[in-house]
């Protein structure tokens, strides 16, 4: 389009690049708005304005770009995931401080979590008591980071203190039978409840809102990625140091158990949380890749599991551990599903990957059905034990969650439903797991006589 409209083209190009700088507005949105701008300019030119005038009026009619991009941001929060805050804070409302201050807070909290873990290790000598209390001791430091970062109001923090205190009392006051299964169940389920409490601080106390919940699910996935990276790096470093020191006759093992691990593990979680917050751009590129790599692999794994289970014959006699493992596999599938849902652009069309995901959910449902049958026959044969009740409960929750996810995903693949329906179902169902975990911790002890 050279010639008479050259200047107009240049102006539109300039406008494009200006709009494109807003992270909430994607390239496709700019295309759409450009089409609009051109339509408006053409109409104005037809009424007698020249190109320059028409362009100015059209841009003006488009509205204040800050306001428009804020509207886009509200609608596409996943794009703004990398921007930390949904709406840019008004000037004068001072932000949580410069980076070095945040780093100082993070390091202090990481050390604090380490000290808490160390104190726990030094004062509690019984294994299961330690298992019950370590998450209790370290979780507050992560929650404190978010409370500081998101400026969670005091009344929310005080309200969070209540379930935390109940959890701490229940875990330590119940007369558990050492070596029994209720104590282990409580120890395994308590972190889930604690994670939900951390989640409330993560969303800044807005626990009823659906969108931030998805952010928290995304955060959890990325945290796992970061902590794994930190663990691998730390492991290599420690391995090399240990090997070098052993050559000169120094054994690193006691220092490792006594000091390095108690500080490194909780510290890595807090630092990992900070990294996820600070470096979201990096992971944003990893998340879709990871889910695309692991979804087909997990599908293969599920199919193999299914075939093995179906050909193994009588499952009632199957090892109890097999059923627990299957629960773990299903939880993994669910995490993968949740992670990919959280990383997906909700407006993108259904593609082959969504079909693959549907296959994954269907396979998981089949495995779940087999596991449930085996579990029910075991229960019919040997009666209900705390372990079986916990596994059964989790299985039923997974069945409901996966079943409805599969249904909604099918609707989406057939273009009958928007992707948003699947997202909403995920966020709505998440708290159910926390409630179930709380129930296991609080009620299973008394129900099964602390066996």
């Amino acid at each position: 389009m050279a010639g008479p409209h050259e200047r107009l083209e240049a102006q539109i190009d300039q406008w494009r690049s200006y709009v494109q700088r807003r992270r909430a507005i994607s390239a496709a949105d700019v295309d759409e708005m450009e089409d609009h701008l051109r339509g408006r300019v053409a109409d104005l030119v037809a009424t007698g304005l020249d190109d320059d005038e028409a362009f100015l009026v059209a841009v003006r009619r488009m509205g204040n770009l800050d306001a428009v991009s804020r509207e886009f941001a509200r609608e596409h929060s996943e794009r703004l995931w990398k921007q930390l805050v949904l709406v840019p804070e008004a000037p004068g409302h001072d932000a949580p401080g410069p980076t070095w201050r945040e780093l100082a807070v993070v390091l202090a909290l990481a050390v604090g979590a380490g000290v808490a873990a160390k104190v726990g290790l030094a004062t509690i000598h019984e294994d299961t008591a330690l298992l019950r209390n370590l998450p209790l001791l370290t979780a507050p430091f992560l929650a404190a980071y978010f409370a500081w970062k998101r400026r969670v109001p005091w009344r929310v923090l005080l309200a969070l203190l209540v379930p935390y205190a109940v959890l701490a009392v229940v875990l330590n006051v119940y007369p558990y039978d050492t070596g029994g299964s209720t104590v282990l169940l409580a120890a395994i389920h308590a972190p889930v409840v604690l994670w939900a409490l951390v989640g409330v601080t993560y969303v800044g106390g807005r626990w009823r809102a659906q969108e931030p919940r998805m952010d928290f699910a995304r955060f959890t996935g990325e945290l796992v990625v970061y902590v794994t990276l930190l663990a691998i790096g730390g492991g290599v470093l420690l391995g090399l140091t240990g090997a070098t020191l052993s050559l000169v006759g120094v054994d690193i093992e006691p220092a490792m158990e006594g000091w390095i691990l108690p500080f490194a593990v909780p510290g890595a979680v807090v630092v990992g949380a900070w990294l996820v917050e600070a470096k979201q751009d990096v992971v944003e590129n990893i998340a879709p890749v990871l889910t695309r790599v692991f979804t087909p692999l997990t599908l293969v794994m599920l199919l193999v599991t299914l075939v093995v289970l179906l050909t193994a014959g009588d499952l009632a006699g199957a090892d109890r551990e097999l059923l627990i493992l299957m629960d773990a596999i299903l939880v993994l599938v669910l995490c993968l599903l949740l992670y990919s849902v959280s990383a997906r652009d909700s407006l993108a069309r259904a593609g082959w990957f969504d079909g693959l995901q549907l296959a994954l959910v269907v396979a998981a449902l089949a495995v779940d059905a087999v596991a449930l049958t085996a579990m029910l026959t075991r229960i019919a044969e040997f009666g209900l034990s705390p372990n079986k009740a916990a596994a059964l409960g989790l299985n039923l929750l997974l069945l409901v969650h996966l079943g409805r996810s599969g249904w909604l995903l099918l609707g989406f693949v057939r273009e009958r439903r928007p992707f948003g329906a699947l997202t909403r179902w995920q966020t709505r169902f998440l708290p159910v797991y926390a409630v179930w975990a709380a129930l296991v911790v609080v009620a299973f002890g008394p129900l099964f006589a602390f066996a």
């Binding site: 609009h36 339509g39 009619r61 509205g63 428009v68 886009f72 928007p418």
Partner: protein
């Protein structure tokens, strides 16, 4: 005429859905239709239409597809879905109740307003 922001926000969804119920359309044409239907009395900030359309798309009330304009450029077309039709019917009922009630209130206000002013002789 300047409209209150909240009023625009509340009326935009049924208006857009109603225009799309007439047939598939695209952003600028929807906006022109709004101006046309209101005789130019109602004008939106152009840019705000798009986040709204995307929200309706996410909610499954409309579907979008990319096509080309007469000039051969990329253009995003929107069409209403059955769910959108349902939502439109529901909104229509709600708005007719609101309009109805407002009508009554205006009448009542008109009937009673002038009297006290003249009777007291203040104004």
């Amino acid at each position: 005429m300047r409209f209150d922001k909240d009023l625009v926000a509340a009326s935009a969804t049924p208006l857009v859905l109603g225009i799309l119920a007439e047939g598939e359309s695209y952003g600028y044409a929807i906006l022109k239709r709004v101006t046309e239907l209101s005789g130019g009395r109602m004008q939106w900030t152009d840019g705000m239409l798009y986040p709204l359309l995307h929200r309706l798309e996410r909610l499954g009330l409309v579907v979008a597809s990319w096509g080309t304009s007469e000039a051969g450029r990329r253009r995003k077309h929107y069409a209403i879905t059955p769910a959108g039709q349902e939502a439109l019917a529901e909104r229509q009922q709600q708005w007719s109740v609101v309009a109805d009630v407002l009508q009554h209130v205006w009448h009542a206000a008109q009937a009673s307003a002038p009297r006290p002013a003249t009777a007291d002789g203040w104004a």
